[in-house]
Symmetry: C2
Amino acid sequence: MKVVITGGAGFIGQRLARSLLQRGRLTAPDGGEAGIDEILLYDVQVPAARPSWADERVVLRAGDISDTGEVASLIDRDDISVFHLASVVSGGGEKDFDLAMRVNLTGGLNVFEACRARAKKGAGLPRVVFASSIAVFGGSAMAPVVGDHAKQTPQTTYGITKSICELLVNDYTRKGFFDGRSARLPTVIVRPGKPNAAASSFVSGLFREPLNGEVCKIPVSEDTVMPLLGYRSIVDGFIALHEADGAALGDDRAVSLPSFTVTVGDLIDALRRVAHDRKLGEIVFEPDPFIQKICDGWPKDASYERATKLGLPKDASLDAIVENYIEDFL
Amino acid sequence: MKVVITGGAGFIGQRLARSLLQRGRLTAPDGGEAGIDEILLYDVQVPAARPSWADERVVLRAGDISDTGEVASLIDRDDISVFHLASVVSGGGEKDFDLAMRVNLTGGLNVFEACRARAKKGAGLPRVVFASSIAVFGGSAMAPVVGDHAKQTPQTTYGITKSICELLVNDYTRKGFFDGRSARLPTVIVRPGKPNAAASSFVSGLFREPLNGEVCKIPVSEDTVMPLLGYRSIVDGFIALHEADGAALGDDRAVSLPSFTVTVGDLIDALRRVAHDRKLGEIVFEPDPFIQKICDGWPKDASYERATKLGLPKDASLDAIVENYIEDFL
């Protein structure tokens, strides 16, 4: 079978592809297990060469997810699964509303329609795993702890488009157009490489830069709270959700992934514990009202009963997440 | 100022236009009151001649709301308000998914973008009142009483598109693109004329047909429950929501209108009470699993605290709704 990962050149997309290569098999549209013979990493930009971890099953393709015909051409087999990760991120979406709508809403619809076209051919239903976000929650009436049954009144265009795509995944699944599942992600740490336009980008930077001996600038206050999860659990969670029994998901296909709710202060403490005698770059607080405002609108605590019931993974501890990062990247 | 009513040739659209003509004024984008010099009733089909209740301020225009350029051409003044009522209804949406998406989602986006284009011209923000529906609620985890803070997991494409448009109205308002307000409608009674493709169409028929001496076929069981409201309160509610103080609405612009929660049996009792010695057409139960299934998915009870706080109107009683209908139409 073929696996399409939109946003596949990103950090999580590549980690997911790597895990799928190792795993080798997934549940196919016909309900049986099938070997993966192609993983297509589709993104707005892709590396010039196949990454070192990849073998010949991995195909890279750059393109525009808002192009309906192009997206249809990617989802060109009946024995297919799609992980739809492509997205303008939170800070980026606040700066360019039209781009967020084009990539996140039109792009999502393109992916969903392309999968629906495959289901029509009578070869079972392709499974679609959509990367939603805890940014679907927000607003003045937000519950103190947001979970699978909390109302979604997002306060960013990013969150709005994620919430809309959760609704669409539910309806396309209800209609029998594909077999959809949405994973609602908390902040993901520790992302290697460079900062991105996500408002939460600094949370990875807080570990990454000091461990590289570099100065890290934190744009929010030390008591800023966020639910987060390590990238290994995120990737394993995507795969577990893909493999989960559809009946156990029922008529709401969206599941909040497990998370730890911590403050920036907790993160700094964990970094110091895990670093042992490594020399760390300095952490400097440089408030940025634009970022602080977005973070202040995020949930103060998150629950994840459905994920627990479905057996979705959670890192052992905050320290374990940082230790994994050191093991994988340093 | 100009008022555009999409779906304006429908029952509620015409009643709304009539009330606006009588009222003569609305709060304009600049915040002051302005006289209404044009009411455009835009719909997929419009009457050949101006209705008897209308004067020369009323303009009728037929068209396709999924046509972006056409919708932009309707919203052609800065001193404008829009009541966006156009919609494929619940039963119709279940039978034609693509039509529901085109009319309700693409159509909604066209209206919202056209209003945003007006706001850009620096003449204040046009007010947009969007007709949402209690059909945004549903699913196996639905709360026993659904209100302004209940999670929306609709189980019809109609409900999904209404939920999506509530989210879009919130975000366009948050971004300062227009001043949006969504009214979440329960079942509206008593609609005159012919049955339509709404799953709730029989609820009006239950009064209309017997009062006309005609047989009425009820496609659901006598204990089927629904929250409902009379058309006079719906129309007055739209206008009150248009006039409401934006600050009182806050960051969630959607408000459940008041409603009565009743059974089909309650409706029949009310009909008999109000009819006095009128000879009534027979009521026959003819179960239709397609309609019963949609109605079974609807809320069993609804609350409306925000509407009460905003002073939105509610009919005095179920009997009063039926008496109004007799006064207005018989």
